[in-house]
Subunit: 718 residues, 2 copies
């Protein structure tokens, strides 16, 4: 996935306060008007999301598994052993996605969308892995990724009491105290080879310490050609039926040898049948189902329109860049796909939010939360809702500008890493708890991995992306604004970007490392043009972040903690927390759906791929690679290829394994249907579907098309 | 040209007050970062635009021709007879573009970009003229366009004194008086078979009455396939060398017979040589060279960013729409090309504006304007500049919202025509001078031509475009804003768009005609969902338009009239007025330019087209149609195909003839290089180039590829 919409700062809407890809959305969608409209009218009766979940809804914590719901809906009793095994087989890709360990030798499966970031970084002018695909002939041929970390969730403990123990009177003081407590807990939790991370659940109602095994030696084993993974392109995105070999395989190493995994998912011999119960273990990025109506109004009126304006502008600009020549296409495609993907997901979410019935369902939820026979408690509940509304008013004032400022470093990896180095000097020497979150002791190793990434810099791509972001920022503020004048330093955006990229020493890892060790005085005196640019961005970026972290998030956090408390008291454990890019279990069945009176069947076949190609002959993204064309007559046409299921997923679940009741792999999540986009806010059981590659389709393609017999043997044992 | 960025209201930045395509930009450009940057640094010394023009600069009035400049630069003496002949051979396409009469039988040449609007409207599911191209076998086979008007400028008179005679003390009263005078003059001028139009020149310094011959029976004679016209697509847009058969031919009819034209341009026997003097007669849409620095700051900080946000969002959405199936592609492509085109032109213009040297050059211009030895006059001049700045402050407050409101009707032709019908009832009964400009007696016939256009409505396209615009508008204002609530009527944008398009009777011409005749009470009671939508848009649209027309434009008009006056006194006739989509004469030479030390040669050849195709094999938009592939070995490869020249042009010049000193056609304007985009604000002689199809390339292609021998004979006489 491209980093089209990653942030290096807090995603304040979920208030995680951590360096984290925000809203990592696997869901490549076409904004089909007919489908979207049908999806829209299908949402006639939104569930009140914080009421007990209907069947198949929910992204559940492994430490609080939906035992009753699963038994009730699927008739299956989950055991602690099953849950531990699945949890320890699931991995999180820190660049934004999910995956699973699928062999005793540390083989990791994810989807192409998650892997494409690395596939691009591992490509060169002579070796375009998007064009050719990749299969390591031997383990020695596996390609080491420059800056990829994957994690396995090893231990969980509830630290709510300790985080909240530091009760302070003002939200801001409480926030500072919590931040300190979290930093301490994470620091203590980062021991014995594990990395500690405090996950904020229920918008601040609970805090859990997650301790991960971290793997930073990750190597590429197999990836199909982009044409096979991304078949149908934008047109088929978020549509179903689909025909995509949307997978790739990595291997995790420790001390130069493949990890010997105690826990890994076995391959199902026969795959899954229609209506069969399935489970998905993955890392959904962000949902906002528990938010109040006023909070969603902020997202509808400010957050999403701001993002869509920016992402659309960058997308069309990147299309132009990629069209220039094959080198530009190779280096820019990952970014372009990421932008298109994010833009489409936000488009679908916004369409959901603009349906007045969605907000109306949240107004009902708010009323339910306020409702009590105790007059004093009722007033307090209403005050809680009002506090959230007030925080949104504040956020409305700064969101667009902060987004535009942070976009500059988000668009330019070179600037981002330079800014990390500039900040490291200032932040790393601060006491624990006072640092920007990504510089805390627990987070620093991950941040550092980015800072010292050897990812090659493509000057023209970097200049293009920086120019786009600087142009956008100038338009948000006006060319004579002192901040803009300081950032552009008397030049036009392209000229400024060009001098910064061409003239900087920061393309060298060593230069960034050395900068990160420098004193703030030395940095302030630097004449490196990229460092100057980072310094010009640093101040406004910090100032805006500080407003959100002191005037928006603490109030939200306090209010949502109060809401969470009353919801717990009312609903008990029947409520799952909103997604936070931490490990969750979803469940459901393989199932199609009804679309405008027609049945959308749950399975497609490999043979259907060729039929679809013939049908859309000559259209962009509907041409299969030579490897597929050569095996058209050989491949078993009836092999199930993609399927839809009712599991409740969202961006970040990309690459999650779909497993059966026995814990065996039957598929690989890569998308959702268009109706699933409003799932950021509500789950609609009749039409919300996850889309996966069938395990049988993967094996048939690996065997027949790619002659990847070693890989197949490792997966299936024969 | 698609109507991606047409307005049904005033383009307030130029203050024309007329229904007019705004900023009609022929310039299909790729925003190439390298080129743009080079273009940027090449602009080291901007000319002060209102100072006497350097050689080859200027879009001159035919009634005030640049006799001295042409003689000085080219050594040619223009005669009144030459000027009249060229003027009466030039035509304006009212849908936004230029053209010329090129045979005694009323054959009209323009470029494919201008014609594509009609080519799409004349296509059906069975007859996709973009795919197949079109050549009328006989005159009886020529295809009548549903709603195209072309005009020829027949008479010009200076009415400045009469318009300005009505001196009033306040700018608003003066504006109202001017509006009344203009309506009266246009009404009087619309007689004897001519249509009167008062053109506002020098931002209000002069007013000329232009009387046109109008032709509304226009038929398609020839168009190549889109692949031949648009070869290289976005990638080659605004680049040079180019290889495009970017032409098409229409014929104007009167009373069912081809017009017998007294004036038409003959075809040059030998075309033009490198460095040969050439002229361009056409209708440049909008330049802003005479604007003050503060006015350009408004454009830089508000106008262009607002447009780019919106156009980019619609462009990516339209890409998705066109990708759905071949029918969507056929119906949506014109819109998509128009959006891409406009977006790219604004991108290039914004890049120019963000180069601080450009604004600095305008600050110098302002200082020059303020400069005088008379202290009282100096204070008055500074007050004039301040009045323009103040008008910009007001405009900043309303621009984005007004743009978003008007965008809804601009995006949906069905809504636009319904809104015209709704307004016709109210406006046509008002006294002359009090009507919205497009409903004045003089403008009403053109407005009516749009209102009753039989252009077919494609429901899914209409729903898509309406949904996009409603979504964008909701985001600008917030979903709970009373205006948005009224417009959406309790539904999501797509649902609202769908019910309005599916449920309306306004797709029928007769229904719109009848609505336009109805009483305002009857209209207010209508239950037609598109009429309801038009009514919901009408109020806010009028209110915002009124703010601009009373609080922004009058102040601008008064101040620019004063500026024009002092500039006339200082510079005399050496100053040309900014472009106003009225007829202008540009001149220069066929010439390449220096780009980063390399010479870009001025000519390409037909053979180069095939070489380029081979070079970019497989890339989108680089495949030639079958007709070309079949004649690869037959065609004369060395035939000049496209060329660049120094003539000063801008959007709206699309389709202008390039003529030699003898008044013969040597080419056809279709584009400019990327450096020409900043030409909206300054003309940079070293690098600003217009791009044209060579007359010899047109003939060779018509003969060899299209066997259009009748057409060739009509053009060349043999």
């Amino acid at each position: 996935m491209g980093d089209g919409d990653r942030t290096i700062t807090t995603d304040s809407a979920v208030g995680s306060g951590l360096t984290r890809p925000e809203a990592v959305i696997p869901l490549r969608m076409l904004h089909s008007p007919v489908r979207a409209f049908l999806g829209c009218v299908a949402l006639t009766a939104f569930a009140v999301a914080t009421a007990p979940a209907p069947a198949d809804e929910g992204m559940w914590l492994f430490e609080k598994p939906p035992l009753d719901a699963v038994k009730g809906s699927l008739g299956i009793e989950l055991t602690p052993k099953w849950l531990e095994h699945v949890r320890k087989s699931a991995v999180r890709f820190e660049n934004g996605g999910s995956g699973s360990i699928v062999s005793a030798d540390g083989l990791v499966m994810t989807n192409h969308h998650v892997g494409v970031d690395m596939i691009v970084k591992l490509s060169t002018q002579e070796r375009d892995l998007l064009e050719t695909g990749f299969l390591a002939a031997t383990r020695a041929d596996e390609l080491k990724c420059p800056d990829l970390e994957v994690r396995v969730l090893w231990e969980v403990s509830d630290v709510t009491a300790r985080v909240l123990a530091t009760g302070s009177s003002s939200p801001a003081a409480a926030q500072a105290a919590r931040k300190k407590a979290i930093a301490d807990i994470e620091s203590e939790g980062s021991a014995d080879g594990l990395v500690g991370e405090v996950v904020t659940l229920y918008q601040g109602g609970q805090y859990h310490l997650y301790r991960y095994k971290s793997f930073t030696d990750v190597r590429l084993v197999f990836a199909p050609e982009l044409k096979a993974a991304y078949f149908g392109g934008d047109t088929d995105n978020f549509e179903f039926p689909r025909f995509n070999l949307y997978c790739c395989f990595f291997r995790i190493y420790e001390q130069g040898a493949p990890v010997q995994a105690e826990h890994f998912l076995k391959w199902s011999a026969n795959g899954a049948a229609d209506n069969e119960p399935i489970f998905v273990a993955g890392h959904p990025g962000t949902t906002r189902r528990a938010l109040t109506a006023d909070h969603l109004r902020f997202i509808r009126d400010v957050d999403h329109p701001t993002r869509l304006d920016a992402m659309s502008r960058m997308e069309v600009a990147m299309q132009g860049f990629c069209g220039r020549d094959s080198e530009s296409a190779r280096t820019g495609i990952d970014d372009l796909l990421g932008l298109a993907n994010g833009r489409k997901a936000y488009t679908g979410q916004l369409a959901g939010l603009l349906d007045p019935r969605l907000i109306a369902s949240k107004v009902l939820q708010d009323e339910r939360d306020a409702l009590t026979t105790d007059r004093a408690a009722g007033a307090a509940n209403r005050a809680t809702l009002a506090a959230i509304a007030e925080a949104q008013s504040k956020h409305r004032e700064v969101f667009a500008l902060r987004y535009a400022v942070d976009l500059v470093a988000r668009r330019s990896p070179l600037l981002r890493r330079t800014l990390l180095a500039v900040r490291a000097a200032a932040e790393r020497s601060k006491p624990s708890g006072e640092q920007l979150a990504e510089f805390s002791d627990a987070q620093w190793p991950s941040t550092q991995l980015d800072l010292v990434s050897p990812e090659p810099v493509h000057d023209s791509l970097e200049i293009e992306r920086l120019t786009q972001a600087l142009t956008l920022l100038a338009g948000r503020r006006g060319g004579d604004d002192p901040m803009i004048v300081a950032i552009l330093a008397g030049k036009g955006p392209r000229e400024r970007a060009t001098e910064a990229v061409i003239g900087t020493a920061m393309k060298e890892v060593a230069a960034r490392e050395s900068l990160a060790e420098a004193s703030t005085d030395q940095i302030a005196d630097s004449t490196d043009p990229m460092v100057r640019l980072a310094l010009a961005i640093d101040g406004p970026s910090r100032r805006l972040r500080n407003i959100v972290e002191t005037e928006v998030e603490p109030a939200e956090r306090a209010a949502y903690a109060a809401l969470a408390d009353l919801r717990f008291k009312r609903d008990g454990d029947t409520v799952y927390p909103d997604a936070t890019f931490s490990l969750r279990l979803s469940f459901g069945r393989i199932q199609g759906w009804q679309d405008g009176g027609a049945t959308v069947p749950s399975f497609t076949t490999l043979g259907g791929t060729f039929a679809r190609m013939d049908d859309r002959k000559g259209q962009k993204d509907f041409d299969l690679p030579p490897s597929w064309l050569a095996k058209r007559d050989t491949i078993a046409k009836d092999t199930p290829f993609n399927f839809s299921c009712t599991a409740d997923i969202i961006g970040g679940n990309s690459g999650s394994p779909v497993i059966n009741a026995a814990g065996e792999v039957v598929g690989l999540i890569f998308d959702g249907n268009i109706q699933s986009l409003a799932g950021a806010f509500v789950y609609e059981p009749a039409v919300n579907r996850a889309v996966a590659v069938d395990s049988r389709g993967i094996i048939e393609a690996l065997q027949i098309i790619y002659n990847a017999n070693g890989l197949v043997k490792e997966l299936t044992g024969h």
